[in-house]
């Protein structure tokens, strides 16, 4: 147990900070060309990700040729700490960098690696993930998008939904059913589908908090032909890729959630200094102080629980922390946003939001942010699913 990092790790942090200070994208540049979805690579975002790649600071645990510098786990953690503290993410296509690239690295053929891996890392191409379907949400293994297997190609028919950034992405990392007769987990494969191929169409699905915020899409596949060599991993072994894909950087993905909570706490502290609709300072309310302190304690606990999970992860131990941290942070964030909106009283109804997509939405109204927090409590395994997972795998309660 220790409260501090060693000197060598802190030296790396200083070096990284100095690099970020000179290489971070300029605010005006980002404002002029906002990235409007999770697969929208803009001019500045391509250049920024390319600079990270060239400096070996994109995926620091990977070798030089893949945009890293073979850093050990503790330095990677410090890397993610620092990256979470700057107002721009390392990519504007998180699923491409965080999930597709490592999956191709782990499961893809040499051909697929050559064709897609480095271009993804250099932000030359962008990705969406074809996972959820109208009939397969939390129960992903029930997916029914069908790929008929032919000698040299697949033909894909079906529909995906909640597909982030599909309308801006070049390729889809798509989970399809290739054996309808096998038990549901054993008949799934992964294909790389060109989003410009004949038979692919997308329909944006704006989120509840704003009609102009359309990251989600429905994606339709109508007899789409996919070359046989675009199968990732073995035929009918797609389920293990889904488990593997989501496990990447699991020891550290919590950092961005912890940083998000810190950011919320800072905004709430600013809000405390403003006047409420009754003419008194919001921070003078005992209830507000109590609840904000509670959010602060939980935000700090999130960091410490994250470090505890990371220590297990770094030692190669399986830890339940991913589900715990995901469940905990998403619910705290929701409570924080609700607290702010309620404290604003009637002023919470002013829903005017400037369009600034490059950062964590600088001036987003609290009520809108509150609605947005449901993305975290629902996506990537809803809170109820996380509770099921912890109940079964950590507490050992009977599986239903």
């Amino acid at each position: 147990m220790q409260l501090h990092y060693d000197a060598k790790t802190e030296e790396f942090r200083s070096e990284l900070r100095a690099w970020l200070a000179t290489n971070q994208p300029d605010v005006e540049e980002m404002r002029a060309e906002p990235s409007t979805s999770s697969a929208h690579l803009t001019g500045w975002s391509r250049r920024w990700q390319r600079r990270l790649f060239d400096a070996g600071l994109l995926v620091p645990g990977w070798p030089r040729e893949l945009g890293g510098r073979n850093l050990g786990p503790v330095q990677q953690l410090v890397y993610h700490e620092e990256m979470a503290r700057i107002p721009v993410r390392r990519t504007t296509n998180p699923q491409g960098l965080g999930i597709v690239a490592p999956s191709i690295q782990d499961y893809g053929s040499e051909f697929l690696k050559r064709k897609y891996l480095v271009p993804t890392l250099r932000a030359e191409i962008s990705w969406c993930l074809g996972m959820s379907e109208p009939g397969a949400g939390s129960d992903l293994a029930s997916l029914s998008t069908r790929a008929q297997v032919h000698d040299d190609h697949f033909t894909v028919h079906g529909q995906k939904i909640w597909t982030s950034g599909a309308h801006h992405s070049d390729y889809c990392f798509c989970f399809v059913r290739t054996d309808p007769d096998a038990p549901k987990h054993r008949g799934i494969s992964v294909l790389i589908v060109d989003m410009k191929a004949k038979g692919v169409s997308t329909r944006p699905l704006p989120a509840l908090h704003g009609r102009d915020d359309a990251d989600f899409n429905e994606v339709f596949f109508d007899g789409v032909v996919v070359p046989r060599d675009h199968l990732v991993g073995a035929l009918n072994h797609g389920w293990s890729i889904s488990a593997g894909s989501l496990a990447h950087e699991r020891g550290m993905v919590w950092l961005s959630s912890a940083a998000y909570l810190d950011d919320m706490v800072e905004r709430l502290r600013k809000l405390a200094r403003t006047m409420g609709s009754d003419g008194s300072r919001i921070g003078e309310s005992g209830t507000f102080r109590d609840e904000l302190a509670s959010v602060y304690v939980d935000a700090q606990a999130m960091w410490i629980m994250g470090y505890r999970g990371f220590a297990k992860f770094a030692k190669g131990n399986i830890s339940p922390e991913h589900s715990l941290l995901k469940l905990f942070s998403s619910e705290v964030a929701q409570r924080a946003a609700r607290l702010a909106a309620e404290a604003q009283g009637i002023d919470a109804l002013d829903n005017e939001a400037p369009r600034l997509a490059y950062t964590e939405d600088t001036a987003m109204p609290w009520i809108r942010r509150y609605l947005q927090t449901f993305a975290s409590t629902i996506s990537a395994g809803a809170s109820e699913i996380q509770r099921n997972i912890i109940a079964e795998r950590v507490l050992g309660l009977p599986r239903r």
Binding site: L3, Y296, A301, I304
Partner: protein
């Protein structure tokens, strides 16, 4: 940043756990509550095995293992709802005396407590503890070389049975804080009919109690910082004991959910029960993480120790609220009975929640420190 237990610390935890499981079954706690028994265990083991000396420097006859090692031992005491003088003597009396004791007092009180030769209690103002404050109910005035104490301290843990009482009082002239050690016989103790009889509380009356110079700690009137630092240690220890107690109640509840069958299944098969168990688990993890951070902040004398102590107590408060509520609820009718052990854990947790400032009081402290 590493909040995981090292292998050496794990060995300590395992050995303490094994001894407490052997020497301190819940039957022993129940016997205190039902029959007013006064068992020698687990204090006897704590003395013999040196747990009492863990956080005392080697120069003063201790083991010098640090506050974090002590904290892990306290957590295990919480797991076993251990009764006895350990919490008050080692995490309340001793830290306060050590903050300001001169060489003679170090030997007379600190070394003696670390060896388990004496037991101690700490008489502070629990209602204002979160702010490190003292009310006006106990005052100290100078009388020549000596000091005289008049007034009352309420809800003193072990106040009717410890050998020595460390006392924090308002000093008449300056309104500052004075710290004193008085023998228990010098005060009038009235036992409280407390919620948890294995954590005995007493109201202490000080009627012109004369304190000789050798029992005056530091410079009366200028001891507020020492009181604050001692309160931080006592607060973190209470949070850690609470985490341990909640952990065992969670474990016992999950075990019950796996074995109690209704509608053809163990009740833990049903999502309604599973999700309650998970909510308990999340709270225990949160409270332990926060308490470990505070334990390290105190051990390393980090600048965040005041904030960390209040965070830990607030998180332990959240934890006990959910764990006690769902623990009773999931145990169903059995959880409502006297013969089930559930209430032993619940009462211990509620007691620890109220000592050294409640959750809301510590959240107000957090809000102050955040300048909200």
């Amino acid at each position: 940043m590493d909040f995981e237990i090292t292998p050496e610390q794990q060995d300590l935890v395992d050995s303490v756990r094994a001894v407490l499981e052997r020497e301190c079954p819940t039957a022993l706690v129940r016997d205190i509550i039902e029959n007013g028994s006064a068992p020698r265990q687990p204090w006897k083991s704590a003395r013999e095995l040196g747990w009492t000396a863990i956080d005392v420097p080697e120069a003063q006859g201790g083991l010098g293992l640090g506050f974090h090692a002590l904290g892990l031992v306290v957590e295990q005491h919480g797991c076993a709802i251990a009764p006895g003088p350990f919490l008050a003597t080692i995490t309340q009396f001793l830290p306060l005396v050590r903050e300001v004791a001169d060489a003679g007092q170090q030997d007379r009180f600190v070394r003696a407590a670390a060896c388990g030769e004496i037991t101690g209690a700490l008489a502070i103002d629990h209602g204002r503890a979160a702010l490190h404050g003292l009310g006006d109910s106990l005052r100290a005035r100078r009388d020549g070389n000596a000091w005289v104490l008049d007034g009352e301290r309420r809800y003193v843990l072990d106040g009717d049975r410890a050998d020595e009482i460390a006392v924090a009082a308002r000093v008449d002239a300056s309104d500052g804080v004075g710290l004193f050690v008085v023998p228990q016989e010098a005060v009038k103790a009235q036992r409280v009919v407390e919620l948890d009889a294995s954590r005995p509380l007493a109201h202490l009356r000080f009627e012109g109690v004369r304190v000789e110079p050798s029992r005056v700690l530091g410079a009366p009137g200028a001891c507020a910082p020492a009181l604050g630092r001692a309160l931080e240690q006592a607060t973190v220890a209470a949070a850690l004991e609470c985490v341990g107690t909640c952990q065992t109640l969670l474990d016992r509840t999950v075990e019950h959910a796996k074995t109690r069958r209704q509608f053809g299944h163990p009740i833990g098969f049903f999502q309604a029960i599973q999700h309650k168990c998970v909510d308990m688990f999340v709270q225990v993890e949160k409270a332990r993480a926060t308490a470990y951070f505070a334990m390290l902040a105190v051990a390393e004398d980090d600048a965040r120790r005041t904030l960390a102590a209040s965070m830990a107590k607030a998180a332990a408060s959240d934890c006990q609220r959910i764990v006690c509520k769902e623990g009773i609820q999931i145990h169903g009718g059995m959880g409502y009975t006297w013969e089930s052990d559930v209430h032993l854990y619940v009462k211990r947790a509620k007691t620890l929640d109220a000592l050294f400032g409640t959750g809301p009081q510590h959240r107000q402290r957090v809000a102050d420190l955040l300048e909200i």
